[in-house]
Symmetry: C2
Subunit: 361 residues, 2 copies
C-alpha cells in the first residue's frame, strides 16, 4: 500500500520530502558516523541542528530580537500548568478566554496555580463563535491573558487579538506557521510540534525576554523554569533531539516553499474548497460561525448519523486516513495542516461527493 | 564514512538492526500508509505498538502484576521534581543516598518539595565508593528512599539494595536492561530512555500500584500525576510516540538476543576487558572502588593530562566517537551500553594500547 492522505489532527502528516530526507540520513547524519538519535545533545553536530532550527524559525516568523525560542518537553498540556507556575509571581489572577475544549483544559490546569478570571466564554453557544472583544472582563493586574486562537476539536480559529495591555499568551499548536502572525503582539506563543512542526515530544515556545525574569524562580522545577531553559539554550537536561531535528527539516522544507506567506495562500485555498463542498451539500454540515472557521481543522457531521461508520470505513479504504472527529464530540474532522497537499483535499472532496451521490437523501 | 563505534553517555548508540528497521518502515509502517510519527496516538496501530512495548518490557524484566509501566515525558531530570511532587503527601521527609552528581541533582530538586534526609553520602570520598548500608540514616516515616544505582558521570554502580521497609525509588537510567534486577524489591524504577532503551524524549517508569494511590492528587499538574498517567495508559495527552516505537524495537532486539541474562554476560565481558586494559596500563587509570565500578560508564584519566586532546582527536579519527568525559569532570569516559558491540570495546582497547605505545612514558 502506498502513502495515504492523512487527516489526523495530531500527530499529523509530515511532508513526504522531510520523511525521505530523515530516512536517508537515519543511520549516518552528514557523515558523522551516527544517527541524530545517537548524538550527544552537546556535540557540535547537534548544536548546529538546534541553532539551525532556531534561525529558520526566526526567519519564518520574523521573530524580533527581544524574544527567546525554547524547545520544551511534555506537550502543550504540560504547558497548561507550567505557564501559570512560571508567571504567577506577585500576581494573584490570570485571565483566560474560554473558546473550546482546549481553552477549558488550560483553565483547569491554571486553577491549580492562580485565581482564574474567565474573561470571555462562548460555552453557552456551544463554542461555535468567539466572545465580543468589547465585553471581555480583563483584570489590569492579572499576570497575563491566555488565548487559544485555534480550537482543534471544535474547528474554531480567530486571528484578531483582544485589545489589552496584558501580555497575551497564545496556544498556537495547530496554527503556528500556517498563517502570518505578528509575534511582537504576543507575550508568549507555544505550540505542540505534532501538527505543523514535527513529531510529538516537543513544544515550541517563543517568549518575550522581559517576561522571563518572572520565571527566574528557584522554587520551580529546574526543567520547568522558562528563564532556566533560556539560560541553558533549552538544554538543562537532554532535550528530545530527534524531534528538534525533524522540526529543523520541516522549517527547511517550508522555507524552500516560500515561507509562511506562500503556505498561507495554499491553506486558504484548501480550506475554502473544503468548506464550499460542505456548504454545497445536503449531507454534510459544519456548525461554526463562518467568520471563525478553522483553516486547519474542519469538523463536519452527516445529516444521517447512521452513515458515519460507513463513511469512515469507505474513506479509509480509499486512502483517506483518520477522518473521525475527536472522541469527545464524534462526527468527522479533516485536519489539513501545512503538510496536507492540495491533492489530498481534492481527493477528500471527490470522495465526499461520490459518497453523497450514493448514500445521500 | 561508515558507522562509528559510539561511546556517548547519552543520547547513546542504538542497535544498528533497530535503526535499519526504523529506516525501512519510516514512511509507511506495516502498510498503514503513514509513518509511526504521523499516527494518532489513539489509533489501533499505535496502541498496538504501546502494548507491545509494555508486554516486551514486562517479559524482559519479569515485572510482577502489581506494577504499572508508564511512559513519561520530560527526562529523568524532570522526574527528580515530579517524584517528590507525587509522593510527598502526609509524609514530611524523603530519604536520599548521595553517591554522585546525579544523586546530588535529584536531591536539589527534591528539596523544593520536601525535607530531604541525606541518608548516606560519599561526597567526601569524591564519590568513589558507596556508603555503608549499616550506617544509613533512614527515617521510618519518610515517603521513600531514593537511590541512583549507576552514576553515569562518576562511573559508579551498585547492585545490592539497602535493607529498609521504605519504598525504594531508583534512577536506573543507565543500567535498566543491562543486568538482572528483582523489580519486586523496588517501589519505583525510572530510566531516561536515551541510554539502553531508545532516543531521548521519554522516561520509562515502573511503579508499584499501591504507591500510585498517593499521587491521585487533583492539585498536581494533570500530566505529572503518576496515578493519572496509569489511568490513561500514559496518554493523558499526546505521548512521544516515535520514541515509544523505538523502545519497542529495542526491546524486540533484546528479546531476540536472549534477553537481559544474555546481554548481562556480554556486558560483564566488555567491562572486564576494558577495566583490565586500564588497570594494566601506566597511562590510564580509573579511581572507583573496584567493587563498585560501573559496567556501563567507564571513566578514565590519562597520567599526562596534556595528552587528552590528542587522545580525543586521534580516537575520533579512528572511528571511536565521543570519548570525552562529562564537561563537569573532564578526562575520558567510554559508555558501553547494551548496543555497544564487543568489537567496539576491542577496537577501543586496541587504540588505547597503540596510543600508549606511541605517547606513554
Amino acid at each position: 500500500m502506498s502513502r495515504s492522505f492523512n487527516f489526523c489532527s495530531g500527530p499529523a502528516a509530515l511532508p513526504e520530502a522531510v520523511l525521505k530526507k530523515a530516512q536517508a540520513e537515519l543511520l549516518n547524519w552528514h557523515g558523522a558516523g551516527v544517527s541524530v538519535m545517537e548524538m550527544s545533545h552537546r556535540s557540535s553536530e547537534f548544536t548546529s541542528i538546534l541553532e539551525s532550527a532556531k534561525a529558520r524559525l526566526t526567519r519564518l516568523l520574523d521573530i524580533p530580537d527581544n524574544y527567546e525560542i525554547l524547545f520544551v518537553q511534555g506537550g502543550a498540556s504540560t504547558l497548561f500548568a507550567q505557564i501559570p507556575a512560571n508567571f504567577v509571581t506577585d500576581h494573584k489572577t490570570v485571565c483566560y478566554l474560554d473558546t473550546g475544549a482546549w481553552s477549558a483544559k488550560a483553565i483547569k490546569e491554571a486553577k491549580k496555580y492562580a485565581d482564574v478570571i474567565v474573561s470571555g466564554s462562548t460555552k453557552e453557544q456551544n463554542y461555535t463563535t468567539v466572545p465580543s472583544w468589547e465585553e471581555l472582563n480583563l483584570d489590569p493586574n492579572a499576570a497575563y491573558l491566555h488565548i487559544t486562537p485555534n480550537e482543534t476539536i471544535g474547528g474554531l480559529e480567530f486571528d484578531d487579538l483582544p485589545e489589552t495591555d496584558l501580555p497575551i499568551i497564545a496556544d498556537l499548536s495547530s496554527t503556528i506557521l500556517s498563517r502570518s502572525i505578528d509575534v511582537s503582539k504576543y507575550g508568549m506563543i507555544y505550540a505542540g510540534a505534532q501538527k505543523n512542526v514535527g513529531p510529538a515530544g516537543v513544544v515550541i515556545c517563543i517568549v518575550r525576554k522581559d517576561l522571563l525574569e518572572r520565571s527566574d524562580n528557584e522554587a520551580l522545577p529546574s526543567t520547568w523554569s522558562f528563564a532556566n531553559l533560556a539560560k541553558n539554550n533549552s538544554m538543562i537536561n537532554t532535550p528530545p533531539t530527534f524531534a528538534i531535528y525533524l522540526a529543523d527539516l520541516v522549517f527547511e522544507w517550508l522555507e524552500a516553499l516560500g515561507g509562511v506567506e506562500a503556505i498561507e495562500k495554499v491553506n486558504e485555498q484548501k480550506a475554502a474548497r473544503l468548506y464550499k463542498a460542505i456548504d454545497g451539500s445536503k449531507l454534510y454540515s459544519n456548525p461554526i460561525d463562518v467568520a471563525y472557521r478553522s483553516r486547519m481543522n474542519v469538523p463536519f457531521v452527516l445529516a444521517d448519523e447512521s452513515l458515519e461508520q460507513t463513511f469512515l470505513a469507505e474513506s479509509e479504504a480509499a486512502g483517506l486516513r483518520t477522518l473521525a472527529g475527536h472522541r469527545s464530540v464524534g462526527g468527522m474532522r479533516a485536519s489539513i495542516y501545512n503538510a496536507m497537499p492540495v491533492e489530498g483535499v481534492e481527493a477528500l472532496i471527490e470522495f465526499m461527493r461520490d459518497f453523497e451521490s450514493r448514500y445521500g437523501a
